[in-house]
């Protein structure tokens, strides 16, 4: 009996002791949430911005040991002066040509039409994605892509709609290309290239031109200007669905060129890692993404 009383006492004490701390945790969400209709009480909860000691703190943090540290990744950029010129050229092209065209097009074509054009473009990219899935030994992905192609051809009005991605069938598009395929096999970027018109790339990722042209059936439409016009339409169409994205990236950047380069490398690294995780050959090795090897010390 005494024993149980003791236990009660200990628990009561524990509960009392922990209450303020853990209360604050849940309060972070709950009380602040309740207070939001009247902003003033929430204001009182704000952390004191004049905490001087934080600014005097001289600890030599380099955050190399942080759990996400393995993602610190860069790319060598020996062509920087030329790349910067191409970057400015692409920037002007976007603001002077592509964006105005996309704005007009957006006003003329309702969103469902534009999404259908996008779906069709993606539908016709099936051969390229199928090949990449096979080469990556992602046979599930190859099968899913084939399933999507059949379903969307038959029930998606030849690819204008994407019922395969709907909730009932739920076959996601395998968004991959030959650049990623090389990445899965451990090929590094090499160095950074900004292609005029086409944008950020690298020698490795330039392999994706094969996907976009040689493996893309409309590329073979003759006369040549018909397929070029089609490509231009696809460009404008996809831009019309993404107006504002490039602007916000550039608007938030201190050095837009460096911001783009880093965003590109981070994005591609994550994609390659995701593809490796699906690959039968490389599933086990995903711990060490190939790009890390070529990372140069940023500091």
């Amino acid at each position: 009996m005494k024993h149980s009383l003791c236990l009660v006492a200990i628990f009561a004490w524990l509960a009392l002791f922990c209450a303020p701390a853990s209360g604050a945790v849940s309060g972070d969400g709950k009380t602040a949430y309740a207070a939001n209709t009247a902003a003033e009480p929430a204001m009182a909860q704000m952390p004191d911005p004049t905490d001087e000691s934080a600014y005097d703190d001289d600890d030599d943090y380099d955050y190399d040991d942080e759990p996400f540290g393995e993602e610190r990744v860069t790319i060598s950029d020996p062509l920087e002066p030329v790349n910067r010129i191409a970057h400015v050229f692409n920037d002007r092209m976007y603001f002077w040509v592509l964006k105005p065209a996309a704005v007009v097009y957006k006003a003329v074509a309702p969103e469902p039409v534009r999404i259908s054009v996008k779906n069709l473009h993606s539908h016709l990219g099936y051969p390229a994605r199928f090949l990449s899935c096979l080469l990556q030994t992602d046979f599930t992905g190859a099968a899913e892509e084939t399933g999507r192609f059949v379903i969307n051809t038959l029930w998606g009005i030849g690819g204008l709609m994407d019922p395969a991605a709907g909730e009932n069938i739920n076959l996601e598009k395998q968004d991959t290309d030959l650049g990623e395929t090389l990445g899965v096999y451990g090929v590094g970027h090499g160095f950074y290239i900004v292609w005029p018109v086409f944008g950020p790339s690298s020698p490795r990722d330039s392999a994706s031109f094969i996907d976009e042209y040689l493996l893309y059936p409309p590329f073979y439409i003759r006369p040549w200007y018909a397929s070029t016009a089609l490509t231009a339409l696809e460009y404008v169409n996809s831009a019309s669905l993404r107006i504002g994205e490039y602007e916000s990236l550039v608007g938030a950047a201190i050095d837009p060129y460096v911001a783009m380069r880093n965003a590109y490398v981070q994005y591609r690294m994550k994609s390659v890692q995701a593809r490796q995780a699906r690959s039968l050959l490389f599933k086990e090795e995903t711990a060490g993404p190939p790009e890390v090897k070529e990372a140069e010390d940023e500091n």
């Binding site: 939001n36 943090y61 938030a252 981070q266």
Partner: protein
């Protein structure tokens, strides 16, 4: 009596664990995001003239949601110690303004997109990643929040948009400037940026 005590003990254990669950990182982020959505959807705050009221309300929310100090330090990493306390203070302030001005319009543009929180991973005892996505009619945008536990509160110190970590992105930019520039030069660039926006 013994039964009663047992029940009481069980109740207490249950209560303690309930508090722990409520403190999960996802709850913290989701609550803040919901507050933001409430402000954005508030019918009383429609139109241009309510924009400043909205901005003010949003500022209160994200101040409680983000750890701007952690964010700033992580972008500067080792360079932090080359800044004097006064320079650090100015840096944190300017950087916050750059971020606010860049992303506020984007947030105010919100029009009924769905936001789904679908995964939480504890990376360390005091670090977690909460994955969410914004679903629009034509696309899905993955947004991951990285949180750190400080004084019993989960605060966001990095946002990963479409697999691009903002901290890393700014870190590269600042490193490039500080590689052969002084802290003062970086501050100058930031001041100019804030003025232009």
């Amino acid at each position: 009596m013994r039964k009663y005590v047992l029940a009481l003990n069980l109740l207490m254990i249950f209560m303690l664990s309930a508090i722990a669950v409520a403190g999960e990182p996802t709850t913290a982020v989701e609550a803040s995001v919901n507050q933001v959505l409430d402000v954005l959807k508030d019918p009383k705050l429609k139109g241009e003239e309510a924009k400043s009221v909205k901005t003010e309300k949003l500022r209160v929310i994200y101040k409680g949601m983000f750890d701007e100090m952690e964010f700033s330090r992580r972008t500067l990493t080792r360079n932090w110690k080359n800044f004097t306390p006064a320079e650090r203070r100015e840096f944190v302030e300017l950087f916050e303004q750059v971020l606010e001005k860049s992303y506020l319009d984007k947030i105010l543009d919100y029009s009924d997109e769905k936001i789904v929180f679908h995964k939480e991973s504890m990376i360390a005892k005091d670090k977690a990643e909460v994955q969410s996505k914004i679903v629009t009619s034509s696309k899905e945008i993955p947004i991951d929040y990285r949180l750190i536990l400080k004084d019993g509160k989960w605060k966001v110190y990095d946002v990963v948009v479409e697999n691009v970590s903002l901290v890393q992105n700014y870190r590269t930019q600042f490193n490039e400037i500080l590689a052969d520039g002084t802290p003062e030069q970086l501050l100058k660039i930031l001041r100019k940026k804030v003025k232009e926006q």
